[in-house]
Symmetry: C2
Subunit: 336 residues, 2 copies
């Protein structure tokens, strides 16, 4: 059983895998992306993944057969296990609990060559819808406090399979960055009586120099103090703490601008790996007044992350105003 352990000084929770524990020689030096070969996520290979939890497929096709356009399956090598109680316990001054949680894979496409950047818009909407559907479903489990949705695109961003997919981790604790954002935005609200993200939206739309694009419902901008070059935030213009409250209309507007943003990044950075994460409210907690859901997209460009994540201290060689200008100026015309 994996364990969730809390750092006694800063309160950060980490997952410790106690099965399949890696020994020194299990850490091979970095390799290039393995291309080609058998892919368990391809259409036709449904039997080689764990059974589907949900799938978007035409009526008449049976589960775990081809015909689907999106499948969600359990991760074959989960960081957490779904069965069991939390078993919260102390060990002297330390706190730990069982590594209970869900670890799922959202297979975004049946087509090995398709990515979020080049799939039809309706299908991007389906990916965003799958995120919502899985959060809604897993929120019913009384053990879970946070559902983390993220994507690793490209090997050096952590993707172990090339086929386009996102991941979901349901956790019995709130991860550090979410806690920090909740605390920070609550503090801002208690002082100003306004949502900090709404204030950011207003200022960015006025200043314009960090704006990359916008539509009626979403603003895409480089944040004022990005940790990483070409970091991009996608923020809904209307205030809401909780992604699951997204409307049908917003789904389409988000898919449009998200797809465009990924194509801008692909063009500007020559398809370098990236990570994105959905930042949304913890489940079963009401942060509606002061929190504001959004996506953060972080291209993997610099190699100094090792030191930086250890110190919490970031040196960003690209001012966000410059990054925004580069991304704004990308030509998205076909064939250019």
């Amino acid at each position: 059983m994996p364990e969730l352990r809390k750092d006694p000084i800063v309160g950060r929770w980490v997952i410790i895998s106690t099965e399949r524990a890696k020994r020194p020689f299990d850490f091979a030096p970095e390799e290039e992306t393995a291309k080609g070969g058998f892919c368990p996520f391809d259409s036709g290979n449904e039997k080689t993944t764990p059974p589907e939890i949900i799938a978007y497929r035409p009526t008449g096709t049976g589960p775990n057969t081809s015909g689907w356009t999106l499948r969600v399956v359990a991760n074959k090598f989960p960081a957490l296990v779904i069965e069991g109680g939390l078993g919260k316990v102390g060990e002297g001054l330390y706190d730990k609990m069982n590594g209970i949680g869900a670890h799922e894979v959202i297979i975004e496409t049946p087509d090995h060559a398709e990515t979020l950047s080049n799939m039809p818009l309706d299908r991007f909407v389906d990916v965003l819808r799958a995120y919502r559907d899985r959060i809604v479903d897993l929120s019913k489990d009384p053990r879970f406090r946070y559902i983390l949705i993220f994507k690793n695109q490209g090997r050096s961003a952590g993707a172990s399979l090339e086929h386009s997919h996102s991941q979901l981790i349901a956790l019995p604790v709130v991860p550090e960055i979410a806690s920090e954002e909740l605390n920070g935005s609550k503090k801002y609200f208690s002082y100003k009586d306004r949502c900090v993200y709404c204030d950011i939206l207003r200022q960015e739309m006025e200043q314009k120099n960090r704006v990359i694009s916008e539509n009626e419902d979403f603003l895409v901008c480089a944040p004022f103090a990005p940790r990483s070059p070409f970091e991009v935030w996608i923020i809904p213009k209307s205030h809401n703490a909780d992604y699951t409250q997204i409307t049908e209309y917003q789904f389409r507007a988000l898919a449009e601008i998200f797809s465009e943003t990924l194509r801008r990044l692909d063009k500007a950075l020559n398809k370098r790996p990236y990570n994105f994460m959905l930042h949304t409210s913890p489940v079963k907690e009401n942060h509606q007044e002061y929190y504001h859901w959004h996506f953060e997209v972080v291209p993997k460009l610099t190699r100094i992350a090792g030191f930086e994540w250890g110190s919490g201290f970031y040196i960003n060689p690209t001012p966000p105003e410059d990054a925004a200008k580069f991304l704004r100026d990308v030509s998205l015309a076909e064939g250019s």
Copy 2:
């Protein structure tokens, strides 16, 4: 002039380089370590670095000539600039200031082939002494609040030159991890009236399963909730918040156990890259009651840091008890 910018939600400061700004095509994919060729840190090449700030060298040898055993020079490509006022200013809801600070390189050896793992003990003591001497000197500058000492060993850990060196960054703000540790240990102290690190020392020495080695003055252990496989902490057994209070006797004891720890890691992990950082009290602030200086050593083994530093959520595939056992069991005999 580089800028220090504060994230308006979580309060994290980052350095934005506004000169030599990197554009998309400046981020080359990762390359292997460039070996051989001219090295500005080698003995005899003193004129090719910025002039030395301090050096340990025999009397009779002039500054910036050979004969030295350790030199500290300004970083040729500094992230911060030393001249100027802080110029703290708001930009709407955002806070920023000039990127004022020191960025220095501690050249640990004149010998290109020597590393902290294989240098004579007296010389390792000198490296530790140089850290202390530079912190003491830079603390006198009224603009600085934190002096960050760290080492990137190996290209994928962020080292741009192969020659063994550490770095120092003096900052007008306290970096995030230091703030978190200060806040966390203060909270623990206010509840328990004891230092959390002293309590950790007591529990680790009793439990023994995460202890790697110890001597009279220092304990080396794997932390209870490590973010990274084979993460190692070196903690002084006597309570002190401030590294600059270290005694001559402790210098030697620290050099002994630090050198041994690096040799254990080199053997167990086949000389994989690593980062280490000195965690010490901010300057001009009194955290003596509850904070406790220490070193954290983090081997660079996993590639998933991109996502993890973005989410604050860590999955560690190696339990610290296993890591400690591997490192304890390393044979340090010559030639083995």
